[in-house]
């Protein structure tokens, strides 16, 4: 069983990448489970043909956690990919991080966390211990950072490295950085920059995903690119990503960059 988590700055395309990755993995004949770990609950929407599935936290709020079954929380989407949304409180109240912890405990108890590949799609920043949950307790063993070549996006990725390196220093932790995925914004020399960044933090860039209109079109049609335009170059990129990830066995403890070094790096590539 492979357990991977995608982390990165909000709005960078984690959910799009996760959904397309899950779709491509399932096309390889793998049993895939995607778990959206963001209170915004839109991780699995494209896999579910636009349907917002009930979240674990919604169900807990409505009926408590005692009577929940696997069928209540797991939904089959495109090509049999199984989808779960953690959900969370209304914006501005309560504690979303504790919601993630509670969700994991429920999924664990229901025995939901079994598949050939489990893909955790996690909220932008590791804002508190709750959102580090997928990296802990042996849930996700391979973390992929999704970033563009923009400084703020690299900055967020670098920050997540801090969480990974702290967590991986624990004796029983199996969480490692598996690679960097560049979800491009079409900046000049973006691929080089992200590859350099990946190398500097002690990892590697596993896939460069160019910016393409078809992603937007697929989303408007409530589908993943893999489903909407299976013959497109972009779909092939996601399949390539899926192959990279299934074949990847490089796992590193990252060394986050100092902020000055990160800024200097981005500056060098802007010239």
């Amino acid at each position: 069983m492979k357990q991977i988590a995608l982390y990165g700055k909000g709005g960078i395309g984690k959910s799009t990448t996760s959904a397309n990755l899950s779709a491509a993995l399932s096309e390889q004949g793998l049993d895939v489970l995607q778990i959206g770990c963001d209170p915004k609950r839109d991780s699995t929407r494209m896999l579910m043909q636009g349907r917002l599935i009930p979240t674990v936290m919604d169900l807990v709020r409505e009926q408590g956690d005692r009577t929940l079954t696997l069928e209540d929380v797991v939904y089959r989407g495109y090509h049999g990919v199984r989808c779960v949304e953690a959900g969370g409180p209304e914006p501005g109240v309560g504690c979303a991080g504790r919601g993630i912890i509670a969700t994991f405990q429920i999924l664990e108890r229901l025995g939901a966390l079994r598949a050939d590949v489990v893909v955790y799609d996690v909220l932008g920043d590791v804002v508190c211990g709750g959102f580090a949950m997928p990296m802990r307790e042996g849930y996700a063993e391979e973390v992929y950072l999704v970033t563009s070549g923009e400084l703020m996006s690299l900055y967020a990725a670098n920050n997540i490295c801090k969480a990974i390196s702290r967590l991986s220093s624990r004796a029983r932790s199996r969480c490692r950085l598996a690679g960097v995925i560049c979800n491009a914004k079409n900046l000049p020399r973006e691929e080089e920059l992200v590859a350099e960044f990946a190398q500097k933090i002690g990892s590697s860039m596993v896939q460069f995903i160019p910016r393409d209109q078809v992603v937007q079109q697929a989303e408007l049609n409530k589908k993943t690119v893999v489903q909407y335009a299976p013959a497109s170059g972009q779909a092939e990129i996601y399949r390539s990503l899926a192959r990279q990830i299934t074949g990847n066995c490089r796992l590193d403890i990252p060394v986050p960059l100092e902020i000055e070094d990160l800024e200097a790096l981005a500056y060098d590539f802007s010239l």
Partner: protein, 339 residues
């Protein structure tokens, strides 16, 4: 915000105030454990003072569900059900959990209810301890009081309601004040009613239980313009000076009162003359220099020798109030010295 030497739970400090208000229900917004632990402690301490009625303490019994989704609705529902019991006042105390998840307790308490609802912020992890809770509760409870015309009277501020001899201390200060003809306006707070709280501004002088209550004294000075004396009277000389300070505040000639009290003190020294010449040592209770000076003063007046091999005698902290407090202390010393 953080007091270096203040430990314990902020909640407990605030509860030592709110459970002293008659017909006031205290609502702890947090998990049941926060309330249970404090309920047991208060009930035991109250029972030791002869109060057998359990403290009016209710918990919102917050669970993980409220931690995740927010506890404001639960708080509002609980306030509404508590109000149905027709108390004079509801005090809402927040806890570490509600402060962490950011429940807007203040906003909920400002809702429209048939009973006044006062929020006392007591999230302990923020850095405060027992004392901060005590101070915070008094400050919050002073807010509903209105400025009113001053009468020649005093408020007693910050009595330590969980200490031994609370009532003895009160009786003594009342006696001393009566010597100079000044009545007590409000005990803030000990056995106080909600009605009393509204008249907090009437007193023209506040007497703080001890200097730890200075932040409350300062607050009341700002709000009501009431000056304060920072401690109940301690020690023989201190008691006489206290009478003079109160007298000077009210422009009363206290010569007679001071002479009279001095005579009582001299007679007391006579009563304990069997202690004269004894060797004593202060036992191991924690003490500060300020407070050990009352012990040295007594030793000198009674002609006792402080000696390493002397009989160990107690020097309690807090030191007992006024001349009567010293009399009770000397009785303990006499027993220890078998005099």
């Amino acid at each position: 915000m953080t007091s270096l030497y203040d430990d314990g739970c902020t909640l407990t400090g605030a509860l030592s105030v709110t459970t002293e208000i008659a017909r006031c229900i205290t609502l702890i917004h947090g998990p049941s454990g926060c309330a249970h632990h404090n309920f047991s402690l208060l009930h035991a301490l109250h029972a030791a003072q002869g109060r057998m009625v359990p403290p009016l303490l209710i918990s919102t019994d917050m669970t993980e569900k409220e931690v995740i989704f927010g506890g404001e609705r639960l708080l509002e529902e609980t306030i509404r059900s508590v109000v149905k019991r027709r108390p004079d006042l509801v005090c809402v105390l927040s806890t570490c959990v509600t402060a962490t998840i950011g429940d807007d307790v203040d906003a909920v308490c400002h809702g429209s209810y048939q009973t006044p609802v006062v929020h006392i912020p007591t999230g302990g992890f923020i850095g405060g301890g027992f004392l901060d809770g005590h101070i915070q509760a008094l400050v919050s409870l002073s807010l509903p009081a209105k400025e009113s015309e001053k009468t020649p009277s005093v408020n007693l501020i910050g009595e330590k309601t969980l200490e031994y001899e609370v009532n003895e201390h009160y009786q003594e200060i009342k006696r001393l004040l009566s010597l100079v003809g000044v009545p007590v306006n409000v005990r803030f707070v000990s056995g106080t009613t909600f009605h009393d709280l509204a008249h907090l501004g009437r007193a023209s002088l506040n007497i703080l239980r001890d200097p730890s209550m200075v932040p409350v004294g300062e607050h009341l000075k700002r709000e009501f313009g009431t000056p304060f004396i920072e401690s109940f009277p301690l020690g023989m000389e201190g008691t006489l000076r206290f009478l003079e300070r109160v007298g000077s505040h009210f422009s009363i000639d206290v010569t007679g009162a001071v002479t009279g009290e001095e005579a009582i003190q001299k007679a007391m020294v006579q009563d304990f003359s069997s202690l004269k010449g004894k060797r004593i040592i202060f036992d191991a209770s924690p003490m500060t220099d300020v407070h050990s000076c009352y012990g040295y003063e007594l030793a000198e007046m009674l002609e006792l020798e402080i000696h390493e091999q002397g009989d160990p005698v107690p020097l309690p902290d807090p030191f007992p109030v006024g001349t009567s407090g010293i009399r009770r202390l000397l009785q303990r010393w006499r027993r220890r010295c078998h005099a």
